[in-house]
């Protein structure tokens, strides 16, 4: 497969078909998409448009019915569970809509979690997690547990966790879905600035067009197909 040097994430003829009873529902129908390295790409769509399915497939959380997903040299659609786990550990970060912090752990322990999975020693990973918390402006909350923090603070911890292992690609699934508009702006500025500064690539899924304004490319998706791409 030929690929331009600057393209990092690529899908070709991506299809995902769910069976609901005897009906075949096309969650994704022939999606081909190229995302260049260093860009922030926003997949914009309404609920049920297939935008989340696309993100899941890019991150290897779901297998496509047919088509190709490629990140760098890696064929995501062909990887085993074990290979995917290793790939995510080494190359990706993930920001969730509902933060998904582990409640029995403090903020800094949550941030350090991906480093723990990598087998980095406790001292080093806590040091790096502290730096990351400082970057998102939460150094004074390091030893707080998630239930002692506001939604915006929790999402900033989530962002710190996604960025701590310096991944090439960051996936964000409705990162501002549970936040008010003021916090949304703060969180979005923080994440886009950091991603740009580190020359990372981000795929962001949202239904909120104001969030989409922070992106370099906007992919509007309807009924499982790309409607338009605004660069």
């Amino acid at each position: 497969m030929l690929m331009s040097n600057s393209i990092l994430i690529q899908t070709k003829n991506l299809k995902k078909i769910y069976r609901v009873g005897k009906e075949r529902v096309y969650a994704l129908n022939d999606v081909s998409l190229d995302i260049e390295k260093g860009k922030i790409c926003c997949v914009l769509g309404t609920s049920g448009s297939g935008k989340s399915t696309l993100l899941n497939m890019l991150a290897g959380l779901e297998k496509p019915t047919s088509g190709i997903v490629q990140i760098g040299k890696h064929r995501i659609d062909k990887m085993s569970e074990q290979e995917l786990a290793k790939f995510r550990q080494l190359h990706t970060g993930f920001v969730f809509q509902s933060y998904n912090l582990i409640h029995s752990m403090t903020a800094v322990e949550n941030v350090a979690l991906p480093l723990m999975f990598k087998g980095i020693s406790k001292n080093e990973r806590l040091e790096r997690a502290h730096e990351m918390l400082k970057l998102v402006g939460l150094e004074d909350r390091a030893n707080h547990r998630p239930n002692e923090m506001s939604g915006g603070q929790q999402q900033r911890v989530g962002i710190a966790r996604a960025l701590v292992s310096a991944p090439k690609v960051i996936f964000a699934d409705e990162p501002t879905g549970n936040l008010d508009s003021k916090t949304t702006n703060e969180v979005m500025s923080l994440i886009t600035e950091t991603v740009h500064k580190n020359n990372q690539t981000m795929v962001l899924v949202t239904h909120d067009s104001s969030v989409a304004e922070y992106a370099d490319i906007i992919v509007r998706i309807t009924d499982g197909a790309i409607e338009e791409i605004i660069a």
Binding site: S52, N56, L61, E81, K86, Q89, F117, G119, R161
Partner: protein
């Protein structure tokens, strides 16, 4: 992931659900206790039995019986009466193995020799042996002394000796027992009277003695001591009299002259003492290979131990049932844990936790339940064992009327402690296998779905 991080993560998970962990651990504690206590009873009784056996028997002693004798043997064909069994045999035995310390031959003189006191004749067995070796073989004295004796004029009687004298009409000498069962006030005073030793006089066809009593060569005997009854040394020690072998040889010669017949001299049995009980079996095997019939006390012990092993296994199996139930408890807890943490597992997968690490976290968690339960169970078992031994000792002592006994109804040796913990950890891990597999199969997508 680092092993230490997996371990800490597992501990943290257990701590997060403290109540459930405590309950599950309690199950394992009970299971471990059941197995360890049950096994410890078997081991304790075995230990007590061995100890009592060692006290009451001599495990360095082999008794070799005269070939061709009328003892009961398992293998009659081996009872080869042509084998020599005299002083040369004693010398041969000593050369046979470096582990043989002493060989003490003895011969039964019943029917050839008699001991008399006035009109009374001793009716028990008269055994000739080297008197100076008696103490070493394990004979013990009620009164008197083994040392400073004149072998030519000394006799030792068993404790029931005084009750074993009869006159020629067959009437017994009178005697009384005291409350302890010792003989007092008898017509024959074993310690103070002197006795006469002479060969038995053969009779003519018409039933009259061939020579008169006065023509016999007689020896006078003084009692040097009364022996305690001790079945492990000699089954008939209470009812026998013991004289020295040198004296016996003279008498036998005289007896054979009177009877005008000559038989090969043959001992009735030999007691072989080995240097260490560890070498007992080797020496015994050597002797048996030469065709001699041997007996040692450990034969009984071996048999008893085999039976105890069966008892131990049955007790252990009963204990294992409660461990089995505890295993289901662990499984249940772990399945619940996986179920509750579906989302957390999903998040961990999305953040790049490898499958083997997820599996390991849950296995460590189950293993930790086993380990903690096993350790506490073991501690509790030690306490129960201690109390059981104290109580059992008190009960036995109050029944025995002051006599001291070694009492052990429960013993937990190191190997049992180690095996107990290892077993509970193993059970934990096995019980955790299926839930851990379930955790591995949990989809990463469950992190995304919002409930």
């Amino acid at each position: 992931m680092k092993k230490s991080d997996i371990f800490l993560m597992a501990l943290k998970n257990l701590k997060d659900r403290m109540t459930r962990t405590k309950l599950t651990v309690t199950g394992v504690v009970i299971g471990t206790c059941a197995i360890v206590i049950m096994m410890s009873i078997g081991i304790g009784i075995d230990k007590m039995m061995t100890r009592q056996y060692e006290q009451n028997s001599n495990l360095q002693k082999i008794t070799v019986y005269a070939p061709g004798g009328d003892y009961y043997f398992e293998d009659e064909e081996k009872n080869n009466s042509d084998l020599p069994f005299d002083d040369s045999t004693v010398e041969n035995f000593k050369k046979l193995s470096p582990h043989i310390k002493t060989v003490v031959p003895s011969i039964s003189l019943q029917g050839s020799v008699k001991i008399t006191r006035g009109r009374y004749t001793f009716s028990g067995d008269i055994i000739a042996t080297d008197l100076s070796t008696m103490e070493g073989v394990g004979y013990e004295l009620k009164s008197g002394s083994f040392s400073g004796i004149d072998k030519a004029s000394t006799v030792f009687f068993g404790s029931q000796g005084a009750a074993n004298f009869y006159d020629n009409q067959g009437n017994p000498a009178r005697y009384k027992y005291d409350s302890k069962g010792d003989i007092v006030q008898s017509d024959v005073n074993l310690m103070n009277d002197s006795f006469t030793l002479s060969p038995c006089i053969p009779e003519n066809d018409n039933g009259t003695p061939i020579i008169s009593e006065s023509e016999l060569r007689k020896s006078r005997l003084k009692t040097a001591g009364i022996l305690k009854e001790n079945y492990s040394v000699d089954g008939s020690s209470g009812y026998s009299a013991y004289i020295d072998i040198s004296l016996a040889k003279q008498l036998l010669e005289q007896y054979q002259k009177l009877n005008k017949k000559h038989e090969e001299f043959k001992y009735s049995k030999m007691i072989v003492l080995v240097d260490n009980m560890k070498n007992l079996q080797t020496v015994k095997k050597t002797l048996e290979d030469y065709g001699y019939n041997c007996y040692s006390d450990d034969e009984d012990l071996e048999y008893a131990k085999k039976q105890m092993l069966v008892v131990q296994l049955v007790l252990g199996a009963i204990g294992a049932i409660s461990m089995f139930v505890a295993a289901f408890g662990i499984s249940n807890t772990m399945v619940m844990s996986v179920y509750e943490r579906t989302k957390e597992i999903g998040v961990m997968k999305v953040l790049g936790c490898e499958l083997k690490d997820i599996k390991a976290i849950f296995l460590y968690e189950a293993g930790c339940i086993g380990l903690i339960g096993g350790a506490i169970g073991l501690a509790v078992s030690y306490i129960i064992s201690l109390i059981a031994n104290i109580v059992a000792r008190q009960v036995v002592l109050s029944q025995s009327g002051g006599e001291d006994f070694y009492v052990c109804v429960s013993s937990i040796p190191i190997w049992l402690a180690a095996a107990g913990i290892a077993f509970s950890v193993l059970i934990g891990i096995i019980a955790g296998l299926s839930p851990a597999k379930r955790a591995v199969k949990t989809s990463a997508l469950s992190a995304i779905h919002n409930e």
